[in-house]
Amino acid sequence: MICTQVLIIGGGPGGLAAAHGVASVGANCLILERDNRLGGILNQCIHNGFGLHRFNEELTGPEYAHRWIDIISTNPHINAKLNCFVTEIQRTQDGFLTTAMSADGLLEVESKAVILTTGCRERAAGSILLGGTRPSGIYTAGCAQKFINIEGKSVGKKAAILGSGDIGLIMARRLICEGTEVVGIYEIMPASGGLARNITQCVRDFNIPLHLSTTVTRVAGRDRLEGIFVAPVNEKLQPVYELEKFVPCDTLLLSVGLLPENEILSKFGLEWTPATNSFAVDEFFMTDCEGLFLAGNVLHVNDLVDNVSSEGEFAGTSAGRYALGELSKGAERVEIGHDEHIKYTAPKYIHLDHEGTAQISFRVSKNYKKVIIKAFSGGKEVSRKPCPAVTAGEMQTLIIDKSKLIDGLYLEVEVL
């Protein structure tokens, strides 16, 4: 039995920053990582663009991970174990008992608090009801990325990509660099959900055809993929089958969305928020279960790793303070309200404890040219952020000074 004040499950960007957060308030923690190294998915993201906010530099994924690994590796408050796969988290009288499998046997960890930073997984062909045959050659974009960047393998000769989220765009460029022909990127929505810089640097610069309002209707080929059928979609996003055409290719990458990997918490009976495909948390990143924290992509899918790190760090400081008995209790918890321009906020709840600040992340429901994001409490404006342009793909954040809160908190987007 191992005892630690805070157990962090997942040693990717969220978990590394969480550990730093825990240690910064003087508590100790243990990271359990399922892979054979820390850093999580960052290790396979060899492109640059990480860390602009955090370190004011453009780093590759592994470099960004190593900045954090360097930060925590010398900290005596932080331990990490690799190749440990958590199979169960149980609530105990004064904390949690977590079981993990490893080659050294079953590991049992007792802790005051648990932070889940397990990230997310990719939607596969089934979850988008992709019909046709079931040949080899269909990968989620991240799986192909792992084969190429970590294993040094080639996934195919001629590829199509469904979905123009960031991973899809980055993998389009990556495939071309690896000598795979990219016949096109197909996006069901009228606009790419990826970051503007990725559309420029990965697609336009490499002359990859990006077909908007178009989707893959089915795949063909009995053994290996032989091609895909694509069709434009109508305003209800339904394919127009009369216009369906065949595109020969031996590889299809799916970049069709990410889902928080939080199933291990299903038995805790926590409040579910459909907009994030995860559980609700308060501004400390604590769930309905006292001492159980969520941060990063397991809470809601982020577009920038810098956000994941800052959430992780914040969750870490909260969990550390909780474990030390320093997190104030008893203050009223209210739901953060918002208008129809905002899809969701994470956290969903905030305490009226009038202490410190809270970081509220959210996404707007569509792209807007020019807006002012405002926060109100008790009818008074407590925060505002003018934005030249906001897109549905890009996460927004707002810092709230909790001492200014009167009754609740309400977020509004004023469209100019």
């Binding site: 399922r34 190749n83 796969f85 199979t87 079981t99 499998m101 490893s102 080659a103 050294d104 046997g105 079953l106 997984r121 990719e122 596969a124 062909a125 089934g126 979850s127 009801l129 992709l130 019909g131 046709g132 045959t133 079931r134 040949p135 080899s136 050659g137 990968y139 989620t140 991240g142 799986c143 792992k146 084969f147 970590i150 294993e151 040094g152 393998k153 080639s154 996934v155 195919g156 000769k157 690896e178 000598g179 795979t180 209707t217 089915r218 009995r222 053994d223 290996r224 394919p239 089958y241 031996d250 590889t251 199933e263 299903s266």
Partner: protein, 472 residues
């Protein structure tokens, strides 16, 4: 050339049942399968239900073998060390279907099904809280059960092998020649000789019959498409829920799988023999028809689409032999074929004995069930990891499958070599990420254990390599 008493063509549930039956009787038997693994045709893609037997018309082979098969299954699964969930099945209807349900009940009683009863609304909705609101009554068949069809088929084939049978995979019979009193079966490069030949080739039965001048049958093919839901939906239904059967079949059902997923389907669409595509139309039919029985399933939790093809020949199974020969054939083994298969095997074995097949005294060797870490207690798991550390290394995170289990599957009696072969035995890539995370790890282990380059590992044999060969 190796000489056998019996050659079975096809390693689906019928072929594998007979293979095990004969091997356990000490018959020198070979099973020839064209695919890279057993259970690669209709057997792998169906509802996985042991039917109680109220549906077939009394007096038919379907009725006879269904009833006997459903009696065999529980003890057979125990003998094989594979799971069976004896949850019973329900045929649900609204009040206007009462008469039809009662007819089914009487047909079932006539067929010899035990325990059948009509369940009224209150009890029914308590048993199955997610039934559609307008469902008033149901026929409950307590002897109905849920199995994993491919796992049963694999286990039967393994049982045949450990009892002395020979299973030849990637052996597509393309020629059968009668020489003196025996048959020579060839695939173009290899030949085997046998006294008896049993055609269990499923959708390809007519092709095989034609090779020896046996009659070919008027057959048609019906595609059944399915949606598979994530394990988080476990409990949506607690047992198979059928609508009232129609001429077209048993209808679109909602059922738990043996491993705790929820499955919706099948459609029943006329198709070409090997058309296992899933169409948008089929998905729409499932979504529409399922409403008749149950509340709206959570389609966001679909993890896989698949389809299987059933071969249908008239209204009944065809199980017969070419007169004055040792060539037997099974044609049109559609539903309830999975249930009926062990009974068909029993029947064929009797026929073969009567026809002069040689049997010998044989000491039964039980199949060794796979070690599945999910089924072990913490204490057992600790001991296992201590003995072999690879049972502590998780490969598939969704289904929690360890490296030890993957290696165990690779070394199992049929020595599967494909990703799908490992998936059907141990479930890696079967979960909610569908291999997104574990495929690279899995291929690496397979490459190491099989001693072939990763680029040669296939999804399901033939040209289904997962990685591209030459990297420029």
């Amino acid at each position: 050339m190796e000489k056998y008493g019996v050659a079975i063509i096809g390693a689906g549930i019928v072929g594998a049942s007979l293979f095990s039956e004969l091997a356990r009787k000490g018959v020198k038997v070979v099973m020839l399968e064209k695919s890279a693994d057993v259970s690669d045709g209709s057997t792998k893609a169906n509802s996985g239900i042991v039917h109680a037997g109220y549906d077939p018309i009394p007096g038919t082979l379907k009725a006879k073998f269904n009833i006997r098969g459903s009696q065999i299954y529980p003890s057979m699964c125990q003998r094989l060390g594979v799971g069976i969930c004896q949850c019973g099945t329900l045929v649900v209807a609204n009040e206007s279907g009462r008469e039809a349900l009662e007819q089914l009940l009487h047909r079932g009683i006539e067929n010899g099904v035990s325990g059948l009863r009509i369940i009224e609304r209150e009890e029914l909705h308590e048993m199955e809280p997610n039934l559609a609101d307008n469902i008033d009554i149901a026929l409950f068949a307590p002897t109905g059960a849920v199995i994993s069809p491919y796992l049963v088929c694999i286990a039967l084939a393994e049982e045949g092998v450990v009892n002395g049978g020979v299973a030849k995979l990637n052996f597509e019979v393309n020629r059968i020649e009668k020489v003196n009193d025996s048959y020579i079966l060839g695939n173009g490069t290899e030949q085997v000789e046998a006294d008896f030949v049993i055609n269990c080739a499923g959708v390809n039965a007519n092709t095989i019959n034609a090779m020896v001048g046996a009659p070919t049958f008027d057959t048609h093919y019906v595609k059944g498409e399915y949606l598979l839901l994530d394990k988080s939906q476990n409990g949506f239904v607690n047992r198979p829920i059928f609508p009232l059967p129609t001429k077209a079949g048993k209808g679109i059902l909602a059922t738990p799988t043996l491993h705790g997923n929820i499955m919706l389907g099948p459609t029943a669409i006329p198709c070409e023999p090997n058309d296992t595509t899933v169409d948008a139309e089929g998905i729409a039919i499932i979504k529409e028809k399922i409403k008749l029985s149950v509340k709206e399933p959570n389609y966001k939790k679909v993890i896989k689409l698949f389809a299987g093809v059933r071969v249908v020949s008239g209204d009944d199974f065809v199980i017969d032999k070419l007169p004055n020969s040792h060539f037997y054939y099974t044609v049109g083994i559609c539903s309830p074929g999975l249930t009926a298969a062990p009974a068909i095997a029993e029947y064929l074995c009797e026929k073969l004995v009567a026809d002069g097949m040689e049997v010998s005294v044989h000491k039964f060797v039980p199949r060794t069930p796979y070690v599945t870490t999910n089924d072990l207690s913490k204490k057992q798991l600790k001991e296992l990891i201590k003995k072999d550390a690879s049972f502590g290394k998780i490969v598939c995170r969704c289904e929690k499958i360890t490296e030890g289990e993957v290696v165990e599957a690779l070394n199992s009696p049929l020595h599967p070599t494909t990703v799908d072969g490992i998936k059907r035995r141990m479930r890696p890539t079967m979960g909610r990420c569908q291999g997104g995370f574990c495929l690279p790890k899995l291929i690496k282990i397979m490459s190491r254990e099989l001693d072939v380059p990763e680029e040669e590992i296939t999804l399901h044999g033939n040209k289904s390599e997962i990685l591209a060969k030459d990297k420029d």
